[in-house]
């Protein structure tokens, strides 16, 4: 549970198309001061009279303007279905109902480490803010971004500047190295002597990265994306099987016990079933 969460009417400050995405800046007041890399917000979509009853979750790309009462949150939104398309068609001046910051954040090491940040599609969004924090702590930051094609790589110039190296992969080879991010990660771990991987993207990608991280014995924190009805821990729809410190598997809520979790604790191969041995499984 993110104790800073609050519900506000956020004003759209700007909305720009970037490749396949929309970069949106929202004025949210104090809330921005509590947002940490990995947190997300939940936004009402469709306006009055909408048939969409649930909020949509979006990772916080950046939070800026850290003075009292004034704060901005930036999002990277892919117009996909009805909800995100509604959001990306908002104009400057429009208000949206937003709850945030929500969920857990990426853990920041106290020592300077060598970090590899891996993003898939709009999953790159939270990584740039994270990269800034890591750099400010003296970490080396390498980044890999993957997507199906060039249009779906979100890597703004200022973002690129904040990393030591950026590797891009696309399924169709339209930019960067043809293939998946998981094809290039092992070598990057070796070459850059990576201590920790931070990742965000589709579940299949996170699973593949976990496998590599376990093999190479590096830490791995990932931001997962389960379908969420409430985002605040009251509906139990967003659960996934996670092994606790005590070795017991529990169906945890990815909205409040996540989205950032330790990759190796997730039971990835459950094939969406309740894994055997899960606490309370019948």
């Amino acid at each position: 549970m993110n104790k800073f969460a609050e519900q506000v009417v956020a004003e759209v400050v700007s909305n720009k198309r970037v490749g396949a995405y929309h970069h949106m800046v929202l004025s949210v007041g104090d809330l921005a001061n509590h947002a940490k890399p990995g947190n997300f917000v939940a936004i009402s979509v469709g306006g009055a009279g909408s048939s969409m009853v649930l909020r949509r979750a979006f990772a916080i790309y950046r939070a800026t303007g850290r003075e009292s009462g004034v704060g901005y949150i930036e999002l990277v939104v892919a117009p996909h279905g009805q909800g995100s398309t509604w959001l990306t068609s908002r104009s400057a001046g429009d208000g949206v109902d937003l709850v945030g910051p929500l969920g857990t954040a990426f853990g920041i090491p106290t020592q300077p480490v060598r970090a590899l940040l891996v993003g898939g599609g709009y999953g790159s969004a939270p990584l740039f803010g994270l990269s800034e924090v890591l750099k400010s702590r003296g970490c080396r930051v390498d980044m890999v971004l993957g997507a199906s094609s060039a249009m779906k790589i979100y890597a703004p110039l200022e973002g690129k500047r904040s990393v030591n190296s950026l590797t891009i992969t696309t399924d169709d080879g339209s930019t960067g190295i043809p293939g998946k991010v998981s094809d290039v990660i092992p070598e990057l771990i070796e070459n850059n002597q990576i201590d920790i991987i931070y990742s965000c993207g589709p579940m299949g990608m996170l699973e593949a990265i976990t496998k590599i991280a376990v093999e190479k014995d590096v830490m791995h924190q990932c931001a997962i994306e389960e379908s969420m009805a409430c985002g605040i821990g009251i509906c139990m729809t967003c659960v996934l099987p996670i092994k606790g410190e005590d070795g017991v598997i529990r169906m945890l809520r990815s909205c409040i016990d996540g989205p950032v979790v330790n990759g190796e604790n997730v039971i990835w191969d459950s094939n969406r079933e309740i894994p055997e041995g899960t606490w309370g499984a019948l």
Binding site: M1, K3, A5, E6, Q7, S44, S51, M52, V53, L54, R55, D97, V99, E226, S227, A229, C230, I232, G233, I234, C235, M236, T237, V239, L240, R250, M251, I256, S270, R272, E273, I274, T278, W279, G280, A281, L282
Partner: protein, 311 residues
Amino acid sequence: MSFDYSASLGNTRFENPIFTASGCASSGRELSQFFDIRQLGAIVTKSIMVKPRSGRATPRMAETPSGMLNSIGLQGPGVDIFLEKDIPWLLEQNVPTVVSIAGESVEDYAVLARKMRGISGLKALEVNISCPNVENRGQVFACNSTTARAAIEAVRRNIGGELPIIAKLTPDVTNIVEIAEEVVAAGADGLALINTVLGMVIDTNTMRPKLAGKTGGLSGPAIRPVAVRAIYQVHAALPHVSILGMGGVSNGRDALELILAGASAVSIGTANFGNPSATMLVKRELEELLISKGFSSLKEAVGYAHRAEQL
């Protein structure tokens, strides 16, 4: 003139008629960061079972037009941990608390009722009988008068004391009035209407049912007309039995609709997901509406749509 916003279910009085719906507010903690949960008429806890349960596989939800499907499968810690952790916290916070229980057998209901007996400070017991009966081909208790009756009788026999029993019914039956009459005869002091409506969504990308559990429960504004109908029918047949109404309420107008149909109090479920402070909005708007219509108390409005035609 002061307006009396208090509500009654059976013999129990509540400060106001706006409750959370079972399974839609977890155990209260999560909502408490958005508003003071003592402002609720009551928190109705998620339905608690005898043993811990991990619930259904995922995906567990699908959005539908003006509603959603869920198949949580009653994930929860089991009654013992619940009584150890959740209940003390709620009672400590001084939140009016209604516990919801759910069983897989008549014996489960008896066990749960006995466990609740000792807890002082509870306001009522909601008995969710819309769960599959493992002893009867998995048929839902509330789908059949005999099994519905047996579950409520088991609770009645074992609960002792004054705690009102509210039987929660499913609308997925041919004749809800018949089931209502049966559970009232079996000892229910009140009725909770309605649980979700059985539905399914097929994902046209994967071309399979979207939920891992295939079917799920439909909730939200889409089902409000079904809730209003069920409440109206049951109130007409059993005017002296209090009804806790629910189904698609997201604002004061919606709550008023259920009250006029015959509900004495109203639970808010799905609306909390879209708006964490939905209960407080409904509470404020409903009170304003009742006052603007000239009612001097909430109770005057209960079932008001049934009054004889003026000629």
